[in-house]
Symmetry: C2
Subunit: 140 residues, 2 copies
């Protein structure tokens, strides 16, 4: 809670109630919510908030290095409150985006084929362990 405010202040990010609400909603949230998830949750506390404000707040937080964007689904971008590099798994059944904590050499920034790397995303697709337990093969 305090942590986010402090960090944003040091980065000269103008703090508005809406931006703080977005930051606080994301803090510790491991569900990788979409912009619309954030919007639908925040409009309870801020009934007049607009989607545009949510998008700009998310972009401000991203540029401040507080969050990262994931393009694991083509339909919608989702946001990760953990900006450090790690892999992700998308379950085709329950549609959740899960963290995958495995060390992987390609995830380290550096060079490849003469191209300079400043970011890496690794996306796995399949059926998550929970869905495998509860249901059958993989297609619903």
């Amino acid at each position: 809670m305090e942590r986010v405010i402090e960090r944003l202040r040091k980065k000269d990010v103008v703090l508005t109630p809406q931006r703080l609400a977005v930051a606080e909603f994301l803090e510790g949230n491991t569900a990788h919510p979409t912009a619309d998830d954030v919007y639908r949750k925040l409009r309870r506390k801020y009934p007049t908030i607009s989607r545009a404000t949510v998008y700009t707040s998310l972009e401000v937080l991203r540029q401040a290095g507080e969050i990262q964007e994931l393009t694991i689904r083509k339909e919608e971008v989702c946001f990760d409150s953990d900006p450090t590099p790690h892999h992700h798994f998308f379950c085709r059944r329950c549609k959740r985006v899960l963290d995958v904590h495995i060390g992987c050499p390609v995830a380290r920034k550096g060079w490849v084929d003469g191209h300079k790397i400043d970011g890496v995303q690794v996306y796995f697709y399949g059926v998550c362990s929970r869905c495998l337990k509860s249901g059958r093969s993989g297609m619903e």
Copy 2:
């Protein structure tokens, strides 16, 4: 050329001039074009082709295992005429999507954290070798 027609026929895909045109445009194309790239190119030969047809043709080819979709950019999906697993690099300067041919253990399908994997995408971001030669640091 012949190869694609043969394969699609065996997979019980109804062959139309539009689908063949999409398949032929993609065959051997290493530029990872978007749906709009395909549409703008094909409308020269087929002036009445519609975007919806391009989208559905691409989906048919994808389901037939002839091509794959990449979500390396959040703005737009792009298509890869090579359906075999390999990595990709997005150049933030020239906006090209380049193939990266490196062996990587995570790219092999299997299991991770108890989740069953049926697909993997690895996306690198940065500045490509050509842009590094021609220009400066990385930002324009």
